[in-house]
């Protein structure tokens, strides 16, 4: 009962936030909704006994990534999108329709299928007995997934370097701006 309530609350919040993320014209507002989205997701994770992932979700996603977005939005100081209505061409409407229909079909198929179980052997007690969620995830992470873990750390390093290199100020050529004006 509690779980349903929790799920319903979070799920509806998530759905609303997700829609607002893509619908709001102001990027800052989008970002705020994204934070809400992520926070609610963390709540869902926590309700599934995935405390570690939940904490990481908030810590990294909400606490770092979206802040970064916010920063860039402020840095670029973009106003709200100018056009009130999206200019959508015919083929784009087709794609839009196709996409929505496709997802509806998938969702429908999922709903039609038999509900397959709720929770496996990974109950709260089982996890506690195994040493807690963090410990168990850590064990998997540092044994079975050691290589991917190392790779991921390399990836981060690369990303740091790449980000610095890319964002570093360079001399802006006039030609590019002119080209933009014509293009």
């Amino acid at each position: 009962m509690t779980q349903e309530l929790v799920f319903l609350a979070f799920a509806s919040l998530i759905a609303i936030c997700s829609m607002m993320v893509i619908l709001s014209r102001n990027a800052v507002v989008s970002a705020i909704f994204l934070v809400g989205d992520l926070f609610c997701l963390a709540g869902l994770y926590a309700s599934m006994e995935a405390h570690f992932v939940a904490a990481i979700q908030v810590l990294v996603y909400a606490g770092a990534i979206v802040v970064l977005f916010m920063f860039v939005i402020m840095l670029l100081n973009l106003g709200p999108d100018q056009r009130k209505h999206l200019e959508v061409s015919a083929p784009e409407i087709g794609v839009l329709g196709l996409t929505i229909v496709g997802f509806l079909v998938i969702g429908g198929l999922l709903l039609l299928g038999q509900p397959t179980g709720v929770t496996g052997p990974l109950t709260a007690e089982a996890i506690d007995n195994a040493g807690g969620n963090t410990y168990t995830v850590g064990m998997v992470l540092f044994t079975k997934y050691l290589w991917p873990f190392e790779l991921a750390s390399m990836l981060i390093l690369l990303a740091i370097i790449a980000a610095i290199v890319i964002a570093k100020k360079e001399h802006i050529k006039d030609g590019d701006k002119r080209r933009l004006a014509h293009g």
Partner: protein, 525 residues
């Protein structure tokens, strides 16, 4: 003491790495210099510890350390010393402080980064020397490239980007092939024994089919041949040397290249004995070609540094042929040649290191390395002349210098293996004298005509401080080679006589404490 004895290799290897971090953290360059020097000296002292406690009576692996690293793949942290790498470890730790001394006066903004990279490089080199696990070795082997890449790419000459890219790509191609071969070997070993392991000591026993062996040997040998570099794969070397800063050249010629020959002796030959026997003539032929070719091209160079660089191609040709001199119809390697090869590696590090240092000395003063810009320098820089002549003589293998002992033993062994190859390679002794004496003559002798050369200052005390040890060592190695050979003899004889069925045992039992696989549950209690 117990702790030091059982972890001395880790200490030697990782003290430089810690130093590198400390250098980065030090607030001022002047402190960074002392920190790096201190770290390198600690590493040297640690290696001296190895040297003095090394048991010269056994061919076994000593000061071994083994910890689980990635147990699920059978990858371990294994380190050890035997006669084949002992001298190279000493060379590395010995050269590093000298090189640091040679860059003591540089104070550009990036110098701290340079010192840090350099210490990282030392760690990489030492690591690949002491590693006895394929993956562990490979990690160091590749890690070594990165600092070198930056050292050439950031502190190099005009054409440095081209040179450093060439260096990286060349080396990388070989390394990747080697990695592939390592994996094949790993799987083969699993198929034969059912155990996943990358422990070199275990892999020595793996027997592959003849045709497979050929491919594996080719892959390994190619990787090492590029590093050495052997004749057709050598063109990265002159570029890298010409563009690298003096210190980079010294360490490149002094140690990095030796890792190629060391790899050949440590990995390619004992792992694939049959293929070695088959490929030996090819390797010898390429080595001999390299000797002659390198000497002739060196002779034609107008740039002093390039000349020394090509001379490395020639000299390392000797080491290669010494490593693969098979005798008794392929049943054994010539112990004489192998001894010579091991010894010559060190000599080359000393003499060529000194030569690069010396070229660096005059480059610092004149900002040119063109032979045509010099002449008659001996008059204004008499001590420089002394040092250059000593280095030259060691390089041309004059008896009484280390170079002779190495070259002689190699030629002797090669001659026993194949008189034709030995006799042809002996020509290298003559050609070596041709270009080295040309170098000497064009720099030191002749009329002192160039106005700028007339005011050159002789060696400074700092330069003395890093050249004198090299000069003394060059002579000591020539007069008392047994001081060094005694330590390495059992290992070399073991490899030479038993390379068909090579086995080394760890003297101290490899302790299998799970340092990194520790059970987290027990923490904090």
């Amino acid at each position: 003491m117990e702790f030091i004895n059982s972890h001395i290799l880790s200490i030697t290897t990782f003290v430089p790495l810690l130093t590198a971090i400390a250098v980065l953290l030090s607030p001022a360059l002047s402190i960074a210099r002392w920190v790096s020097m201190g770290g390198s000296i600690v590493a040297f002292l640690a290696s001296l510890h190895i040297w003095f406690y090394f048991d010269a009576q056994t061919a076994g692996l000593q000061f071994t350390e083994m910890h689980e690293w990635i147990p699920s793949f059978g990858i371990r942290y294994i380190m050890g010393v035997d006669g084949l790498n002992l001298l190279l470890i000493m060379l590395t730790t010995f050269l590093t402080p000298l090189i640091l001394l040679s860059v003591w006066h540089l104070d550009d903004k990036k110098q701290k980064a340079f010192l840090s990279l350099f210490m990282t490089l030392e760690c990489g080199m030492l690591g690949s020397l002491v590693a006895f696990d394929l993956v562990f070795f490979y990690v160091f082997w590749e890690a070594m490239l990165i600092p070198m890449y930056f050292i050439i790419g950031l502190w190099g000459g005009k054409n440095r980007i081209y040179a450093t890219t060439k260096f990286i790509i060349y080396t990388f191609v070989g390394s990747l092939l080697m990695l592939a071969a390592m994996i094949v070997l790993y799987v083969l070993h699993f198929q034969q024994t059912g155990v996943y392991t990358t422990n070199l000591l275990d892999l020595y026993g793996t027997s592959a089919e003849y045709s497979t062996q050929m491919w594996l040997f080719a892959a390994f040998a190619l990787a090492f041949a590029i590093k050495v570099p052997m004749f057709p794969f050598h063109t990265w070397l002159p570029d890298a040397h010409t563009e690298a800063p003096t210190s980079g050249s010294v360490i490149l010629a002094g140690v990095l290249l030796k890792l190629g020959t060391y790899g050949l002796v440590r990995f390619a030959i004992p792992l694939f004995p049959q293929a070695t026997a088959t490929f030996a003539p090819v390797m010898v032929a390429l080595g001999v070609i390299g000797i002659i070719y390198g000497a002739l091209t060196a002779w034609m160079q107008k740039d002093a540094k390039k000349m020394v660089a090509y001379s490395s191609v020639s000299h390392l040709g000797f080491v290669v042929i010494g490593s693969v001199a098979v005798i008794s119809g392929g049943a054994a390697l010539s112990a004489e040649a192998l001894t010579g090869a091991v010894y010559q590696q060190i000599n080359h590090g000393i003499s060529t290191g000194a030569l690069f240092f010396l070229v660096g000395c005059i480059y610092d003063r004149r900002h040119t390395r063109m032979l045509a810009d010099f002449g008659g320098i001996a008059k204004v820089m008499p001590w420089f002349a002394v040092m250059l002549i000593v280095a030259t003589l060691s390089s041309v293998g004059l008896p009484g210098t280390g170079g002779f002992v190495g070259e002689f033993l190699i030629l002797l062994g090669t001659f026993l293996s194949s008189p034709l190859a030995g006799a042809t390679a002996a020509l290298g002794v003559l050609l070596g004298a041709v270009y080295m004496l040309t170098l000497c003559r064009k720099i030191l002798f002749g009329p002192l005509e160039n106005e700028e050369n007339k005011t050159l200052e002789d060696l400074t005390p700092r330069e003395f401080a890093y050249l004198t040890p090299l000069a003394i060592l060059a002579v000591v190695m020539g007069v008392f080679p047994n001081l060094f050979l005694d330590k390495v003899r059992p290992s070399i004889e073991n490899l030479a006589n038993n390379f068909r069925n090579y086995k080394i045992v760890a003297e101290a039992p490899l302790e299998s404490n799970q340092l990194l696989g520790a059970d987290h549950k027990e923490m904090g209690h």
